[in-house]
């Protein structure tokens, strides 16, 4: 490779790997104990009346200023200036309030004195000892209290533990605080109504608001309905709240949301309920103008918030087809739109739209469309190709094709032909939020490998079965029953390294020893290698390789429907492309190929490249699936036989286990990495590539 090529590749790698997320809002860089802290209520001892606690710690030479403010609005402030090192400070009591337990019949005797001593045993700890008098219904008595403030190792939280002489039973009194102003967010719940004529208007408004507001940091998280295709929405929210100490204030309805977040929004754009695509264009405008999208009936809501219209599409596109609408949008907005990200707001079509990915498109100032990628839809196809041709190579096409216009394979074939990569789906939620939450300090992505480097188990005369779930971790069975009960592999979205690093942490930290993650899908994003220009494919594989290193992945998956699907098309790969993966990913212990069964098989230096031998459809009755797997084992008589299963994401692991348990003693379910190592050692499959017709020579 020429040096200049190496340089270009390196620059591209860096660009693709690290679109550095913006810093979270108001997240102080100070890592020490000094500063302002606020209570994380859900993780602290209950504070009855005041409910909240803020702590401020300041050091001035040998002195400590400690301010504890109990409550917000109606509050009690306890401000102390104390020498460090154990010297006693006498503090007169001026208020009878006993702030941590107002609902108990206890009071501080006004006129009495608190004797307080403070130490700082180390940089991350402050210790207080206090003696005082406390009055109950039976009169005064002496009491002592120890307060210990301890900074967490990563500097993000402060634990405040209280031991009082009068409280000798019950759970320890412990408050967890985070830095004031950090990890504060809003949460919005959306109803399960996505009808253009129904509540899509409200949902689109909220999603556009999210995209705009999150430009200034990860502030707005949306909770989608329980039946949302990305099943993790609630669980990831819990993770941010419980593990990453996010505090969320819920916003109810459009009125409350715009009132709370008005300062981030510059205007509004009106879409036309009678022309569905006007909303798609409105999302483009939303990103460029920081404008929320509204239908006519919502105008009063945004007007009351003081917003002004930046664009009004009512009646604008009446009678226009999508080619004309998007051509108009192209001419008006394209110059200002991102050339690295573009949104295909397809998926559900007709009377329904589920535009969850729009927050990301707005966040990144993307052009939105749902143009057909079907060759016979000549005008839409031509415009789609034009847009894609004007994007930077290896751009990200986010969203999904329109179910009403074309097929997945037509869409991905076209995007791949420009070397772009798809990240689905249109329902992909909260990316503008998750992209800005880094993984926890010091967190390392560690996969559940079952072999030590160099270990190659010897296969027996058996049928070895291994399972991989389709469509990644976020869709499907990850949160459904059975995960962890059998060895199972999951397709990881490797772009999470930069696109949702904390969400990747969420998955990794939940994984059981039986959950093995693999890279996908043909590249850093979904693409068809046969359709990608070879020069770009090499660069794309290099990016995948780097992402896999970060995520500790050593198995990669390919799929190619650019020449049609399994039955009526050809999903196989030619040798030159298989070799590109072998050479481009030297750390990979093996590769898997296909979606439905495919027929490309190879092995190189003990590293197999294997296609799926079985696709478990969610509709397949268990008894028939058992018979299918047993039949494959008979029809492939050599032992060991390696039976690679691709499991549709809508099958949960429980169901899969039920099927595998019935296969009989000859079968053994093994982890994917063990499976590939054995298959590489004793490859009983027959090498097979797609043979392209020889080109005629002149």
């Amino acid at each position: 490779m020429k040096r200049s090529s190496v340089l270009v590749l390196a620059v591209m790698l860096l660009a693709a790997l690290a679109p550095a997320p913006a810093a979270p809002p108001a997240a102080p860089q100070d890592k020490g104990i000094e500063g302002s802290w606020e209570l994380i209520r859900d993780k602290s001892t209950d504070i009855d009346l005041y409910a909240a606690l803020a702590v401020e710690l300041r050091f001035d030479g040998p002195g400590l200023t400690l301010i504890r403010t109990w409550g917000v609005g109606r509050s009690f402030r306890d401000s102390l200036a104390l020498p460090l090192g154990g010297g006693v400070t006498h503090v007169p009591v001026k208020s009878r309030v006993f702030p941590s337990n107002v609902f108990m019949g206890l009071m501080m005797p006004v006129g009495s004195v608190r004797d307080i001593r403070a130490w700082r045993p180390d940089a991350g700890t402050v210790r207080l000892e206090e003696s005082f008098r406390l009055r109950g219904s039976q009169g005064e008595s002496p009491a002592t209290e120890t307060g210990l403030f301890t900074l967490s190792p990563d500097g993000s939280t402060l634990v405040y533990e209280v031991n009082r002489s009068t409280r000798t039973s019950g759970p320890p009194v412990k408050y967890l605080l985070k830095r004031a102003g950090s990890a504060d967010g809003y949460v919005i719940r959306l109803e399960d109504n996505w009808e253009v004529a129904g509540k899509l208007s409200v949902q689109a408004f909220m999603i556009s608001l999210q995209g705009i507001v999150n430009r200034s940091g990860p502030r707005v998280y949306i909770l989608y309905p329980e039946n949302w295709p990305f099943t993790y929405v609630q669980s990831v929210y819990d993770f941010y709240r419980d593990k990453r100490n996010y505090s969320f204030r819920e916003l109810h309805g459009a009125e409350e949301a715009i009132a709370a977040l008005r300062k981030y929004v510059k205007g509004y754009v009106v879409w036309d309920r009678n022309v569905r695509s006007s909303l798609t264009v409105a999302f483009t405008v939303a990103g460029l103008e920081d404008a929320v999208v509204v239908s006519e009936d919502m105008i009063p809501v945004v007007e009351r918030a003081g917003l002004k219209p930046v664009e009004d599409f009512r009646g604008k596109f009446t009678g226009w087809n999508d080619t004309k609408i998007y051509t108009w949008a192209y001419e008006k907005y394209w110059d200002r739109c991102s050339r690295e990200y573009i949104i295909w707001l397809g998926g559900d079509a007709g009377p329904v739209m589920k535009p969850a990915v729009a927050d990301w498109g707005i966040f990144k100032k993307c052009f939105f469309s749902d143009l057909s990628c079907r060759v016979t839809d000549t005008t839409e196809y031509a415009l789609a190709a034009k847009l894609l041709s004007e994007m930077k190579p290896m751009s990200l096409v986010m969203g999904w094709h329109s179910y009403g216009k074309d097929l997945e394979r037509e869409f991905v074939r076209l995007t791949s032909s420009f070397g772009h990569r798809v990240i689905g789906l249109h329902t992909l939620p909260n990316l503008s939020f998750s992209a800005q939450i880094p993984a926890s300090p010091g967190f390392r992505y560690t996969n559940n490998h079952h072999l030590k480097p160099g270990d190659v188990p010897t296969p027996g005369k058996k049928v070895y079965v291994t399972c991989i779930q389709t469509d990644g971790m976020g869709l499907g069975a990850w949160l459904k029953p059975g995960r962890g009960e059998i060895p199972y592999a999951w397709e990881a979205e490797t772009n999470y390294t930069w696109m949702a690093p904390a969400m990747a942490e969420y998955f990794y930290s939940m994984a059981t020893p039986n959950d093995f993650l693999i890279g996908c899908l043909s590249g850093p994003g979904y693409l068809y290698p046969k359709a990608v220009p070879p020069k770009l494919l090499k660069q794309l594989i290099a990016i995948s390789r780097e992402q896999m290193k970060v995520l500790d992945l050593n198995v990669f998956e390919t799929m190619d429907y650019s020449e049609g699907a399994t039955v009526e098309g050809n999903s196989d790969l030619p040798k030159d492309i298989v070799d590109m993966y072998f050479e481009g990913m030297p750390e990979a212990i093996g590769f898997v190929n296909g979606y439905a069964p495919s027929y490309t098989f190879a092995v190189k230096d003990g590293r197999p490249f294997m296609s799926y031998d079985y696709y478990l459809s969610p509709e397949r009755p268990e008894a028939d699936a058992v018979a299918d797997l047993q039949e494959l084992a008979r029809i492939n008589p050599r032992r060991p036989y390696f039976e690679l299963l691709h499991i549709r994401e809508s099958s949960d692991v429980k169901r899969v286990k039920g099927i595998l348990d019935k296969l009989g003693p000859e079968f053994e379910v093994v982890p994917l990495d063990v499976f590939l190592a054995m298959a590489g050692k004793d490859p009983t499959f027959k090498e097979r590539f797609l043979v392209r017709p020889q080109k005629e020579t002149r």
């Binding site: 039955v567 069964p597 397949r620």
Partner: protein, 180 residues
Amino acid sequence: MIARAVALTLLILPCRLSGFPDGPSIDGTWTSVPARSTEIAAWKGRTLGLAISVRGDRVSIVHNWLDRGQVAYADTFRFVPGGKAVRSVVCSVEWPDNWLMGVLSSAGDERTVSGSWQVEGSDIRTVTVQPVVTSQGKTTVTTTREYVLGDGGNTLTLTERRSSRPTPVVLVFERKEVRP
């Protein structure tokens, strides 16, 4: 009156065409009844229809894999019952019986089909020796198919036993029309 005459004609027509006057004939076009059949792992929404014709001593059975009513793939078995196995060259890699499994037809290789009446004109058994390609290479699958009429000739049950499969595939069809 006319309608009744037409209906009567339709009922007796199969017997006359097939040349087996003693009972209903298998000859005709048949549509599947999925609710009474083994779930077939057909590609996408494909359904299976049968077109069976008996002409003199020759029988033709066509398995039509239908995609939205149109024939997407036709698998044809022609033979003389009781006669020699008929050889034909496999033209397509498609193995339509079960797309979930990693099995291809071995295009370019020969397959053989033979058959015999179990009940003259009504119930027939075929045996197909089909070359296929799997991950371990080429092999052959022998499939025995029994087509049995029932319900006075209005239903047909196809029981398919593959040498490689532990359980039979049982498919039930209803007569669609009588082929002229």
